[in-house]
Amino acid sequence: MSKRPPPEHPHPALQKSGILLSGKALIGLMRAVHARGLPFRFTAGGHSMAPFIRDGDVVSVSPLASGDPALGDVAAFVHPETTFLCLHRVLSVNGNRFLIQGDSIPDRPDGMIPREAIIGRVTRVERAGRNVRLGLGPERLLIALLSRCGMLTRIRRYAGPLTACFSRRHASCETR
């Protein structure tokens, strides 16, 4: 399980897949991998979680084996209206329902998402081969609170260069 497959060209019946999977296909594969208790790694698209998750970042979504998503976690969930896969932050927990919102779209909250729509939580973000830790550690609580009261985008606006610098400093040198 730890060794990578041989690099030669595969048999014509078996091809390295270059197809772009739809949201539903991605969700199906993620659920299948999670059923084995393993994280699912893929490239995220969009800007709703900037600057913590950017378009093209590689994210790992782990199954919720260790319990429900908590305040500040970035949850992977199926949006009840669009049925798209979303990666947005949990801003509050109310029993089995979770207030979720993208960090950079305070005007478009996802609303109260039921527990059954949540597939997993983001446990790793990689950017250009480096781990990006800012946004997934203990500071996620503060980010959630700031986001909830509408302060996060304001802070970003005024402290954008500082945030970028902070992000770089928190990126480890670990490569894949």
């Binding site: 399980m1 041989p6 019946a13 991605l26 594969l29 790694r41």
Partner: protein
Amino acid sequence: MDMVFSHSDDVVSREIDGALIIVPLTAGVGDMEDDLFSMNETGTEIWNLLDGKKTIREIVDALAGQYRADAGEIEADVSGIVKELLKRRMIVEATAA
């Protein structure tokens, strides 16, 4: 030809829009980034028959009967795909039921 194979626990497969997608669970992660494979129609059919019960001979016979094709040709196809899947550890040898 009397060997029996089943899908490895180190892969996850799903049929999506008519194509079989195989995700190897490399280093404890289901990785869409490097290691996503898709099977063509023939490969998918053979993959589905590698169920841990049927021998390679039974698979060849089943396909030869279904397609009324030359058994030798089908055997070569099945052997080639099985060899590839074994090499990539997508299937493992199983004990016949």
